[in-house]
C-alpha cells in the first residue's frame, strides 16, 4: 500500500463564497474561476463524487485521465496532483486532501454499463452518465463532451499483475479534497447514485461543495 500524505486545508468554511450540499444522485455544473479554491466534502463517507472538468471558455479542452496520470507517472490522485487537460495544460491542482488517494481510471456508471456489469434489466436505474448528460446539456453541450472523469473518494487499485480491483473505501465521514483552479474551469459532478456496488454500502449519500474566492488564504 502506498504511503498517503494527508494535507489539511487552512480555509474556513465561513469565508466560502459558495457552499451547498449536493444530494446523492444529483448532477451539478458550476464555474470555478482562476485562483478560486474548490472543496468537495464526503459528508457521510465512501461516497463517489464523479467529476469532469472543462476549460470554461472552450469545452473541447477538458480533463484527461490519461494525460494526467502520464504527466505524473502515477495512477492515483492526491495533494500535488496536476489535473491535466487533453491539450496538456493544467486545469486545477489538488492542494489539500484528507483522504489520500482518488481514482481516475474507474470511469462513471451508465445505464448500459450497469446492464453489462450487473444484469440486462438494470438499464432503468439512475446513473452517473445520465447526470453528466443533464448537467452538460443544461449548458448547451452534448454526449460527445462526456469524457474521462475523476472518482473522488474511490479506491480502485491496479495490481502489478495487471488486475483492476475495487477495494473498500479509504474515505470516511468528513474527509475532503481541495483544489485550486489554474485556469477558468467548469466543474461537472455526478454525485453517484450507484445501488449495485457495495463500495458505498448500497447507500448513496450527499456531498458538500464549497468555493473560496481568489486571494483567500
Amino acid at each position: 500500500m502506498s504511503e498517503r500524505t494527508l494535507i489539511k486545508s487552512k480555509l474556513d468554511a465561513a469565508t466560502a463564497i459558495h457552499d451547498e450540499v449536493l444530494p446523492a444522485g444529483e448532477g451539478w455544473i458550476h464555474a470555478v474561476k482562476k485562483g478560486e479554491t474548490f472543496r468537495i466534502v464526503d459528508l457521510d463517507g465512501n461516497q463517489a463524487a464523479d467529476t469532469l472538468i472543462y476549460n470554461l471558455h472552450d469545452f473541447s479542452e477538458r480533463y484527461s485521465a490519461l494525460d494526467t496520470i502520464n504527466s505524473q507517472g502515477n495512477i492515483y490522485l492526491t495533494t500535488g496532483s496536476s489535473l491535466v487537460s487533453n491539450l496538456g495544460n493544467e486545469l486545477m491542482r489538488i492542494t489539500a486532501d484528507t483522504c489520500g488517494r482518488h481514482d481516475t481510471l474507474g470511469g462513471a456508471c451508465a445505464a448500459e454499463s450497469n446492464q453489462v456489469r450487473y444484469a440486462i434489466e438494470k438499464r432503468y436505474m439512475h446513473n452517473c452518465r445520465a447526470s453528466f448528460m443533464a448537467a452538460l446539456m443544461s449548458w448547451g453541450h452534448e454526449k460527445r463532451d462526456i469524457t474521462s472523469n475523476i472518482n473522488f473518494f474511490m479506491n480502485v487499485p491496479v495490481t502489478p499483475e495487471g488486475k483492476l480491483t475495487f477495494e473498500d473505501g479509504i474515505s470516511e465521514a468528513g474527509k475532503y479534497v481541495e483544489m485550486v483552479a489554474t485556469m477558468d474551469v467548469a466543474v461537472v459532478i455526478s454525485n453517484c447514485p450507484q445501488l449495485n456496488n457495495p463500495c458505498n454500502a448500497y447507500n448513496p449519500t450527499p456531498v458538500r461543495l464549497l468555493i473560496w474566492g481568489a486571494h483567500v488564504s
Partner: protein, 238 residues
C-alpha cells in the same frame, strides 16, 4: 476450428496511421515485424460515431488493467466493438497516454517534413486527429485508446513502469469486429518508452473474413459480463 478468408493485407510503416471500417464478421491481425512495436488504436461505432471505445468500462467489466486474448473492447454504450481472438504477446496497455507533437519534440527533437520528408517525426495525437477528421470527428471525440504491444506495469504505490521487450518479432494480435467498427491505427512509440531515439516500428496488417462467434466462443464466455456485452451487440443488429 474457425475458418478465415484473407481480404487484403498491407504494411504500416513506423510513425504512420490508417483508418478502416472493420465490418462485423471480419478481423484484423496485426503483426509486430521487428519486435518492440507500439500500436495505439482507438475505436468508434461507424454508424453512430458518438459511440466510442471506453477504457474504464472495458477494464471494469472484465476486472482487468491489461488486455489480452479473450478480452473484449467495449463502447460507452455497453456493447462489444471488437474482441481479442488471438494474442501471442500477452499484455497490451490500456492506460498509458499517447504522444503529442510537443512531447515528441521535447523527447526526440523537432524533425520536420521540409527536411526529412516522410521520415519526419509524427505523433499519435496528430495522426489520430487527421484520421478521425476524415469522418467528421474532432478533438472532442478523442478520449481513450489502447497501446497494443506495449506493457505498462503499475506498482503498489501507483507508479507506472514501462516494460521493455514485451513484444518480439513475429508476435501478433487479432481483433474480431462484433460491430461495424471504425478502427484508427497509429504506429508511434509509447510516450513512456525509455528509448531516447525516435524509432517507430512497422507492423503488418491482415484483414480477413471470419466466422461468427460460436456458442463456446472464448471472448463471449470469458466472464458473465462479456455474455451480456455480446447480447447488447447482437440486439443492436436485430
Amino acid at each position: 476450428m474457425a475458418s478465415a478468408c484473407l481480404l487484403f493485407e498491407e504494411e504500416l510503416r513506423g510513425g504512420a496511421s490508417f483508418a478502416h471500417v472493420l465490418k462485423r464478421g471480419t478481423s484484423l491481425r496485426i503483426t509486430d515485424l521487428h519486435g518492440g512495436a507500439n500500436v495505439p488504436i482507438t475505436l468508434f461505432n461507424f454508424e453512430l460515431l458518438v459511440e466510442r471505445y471506453n477504457m474504464a468500462d472495458t477494464l471494469k467489466q472484465q476486472h482487468t488493467a491489461h488486455l489480452t486474448q479473450g478480452h473484449c473492447l467495449y463502447s460507452d454504450m455497453g456493447r462489444v466493438l471488437c474482441s481479442i481472438t488471438n494474442d501471442t504477446v500477452g499484455w497490451h496497455d490500456p492506460i498509458g497516454a499517447y504522444s503529442t507533437r510537443a512531447s515528441v519534440a521535447k523527447k526526440y527533437g523537432a524533425h520536420d517534413y521540409q527536411e526529412f520528408r516522410n521520415d519526419w517525426y509524427t505523433s499519435t495525437r496528430e495522426n489520430f486527429l487527421r484520421e478521425i477528421g476524415k469522418f467528421g470527428l474532432s478533438i472532442r471525440d478523442l478520449q481513450s485508446h489502447i497501446n497494443f504491444f506495449s506493457k505498462l506495469q503499475v506498482d503498489l504505490t501507483g507508479s507506472m513502469h514501462f516494460v521493455p521487450g514485451n513484444s518480439k518479432a513475429g508476435d501478433s494480435v487479432e481483433l474480431r469486429s462484433e460491430m461495424n467498427t471504425l478502427v484508427i491505427i497509429d504506429t508511434n512509440p509509447h510516450p513512456l518508452d525509455p528509448n531516447p531515439n525516435y524509432e517507430p516500428k512497422p507492423v503488418h496488417l491482415s484483414f480477413q473474413r471470419v466466422d461468427a462467434p460460436a456458442a463456446d466462443d472464448q471472448c463471449r464466455n470469458l466472464c458473465p459480463e462479456n455474455i451480456r456485452g455480446f447480447i447488447n451487440s447482437e440486439r443492436y443488429f436485430l
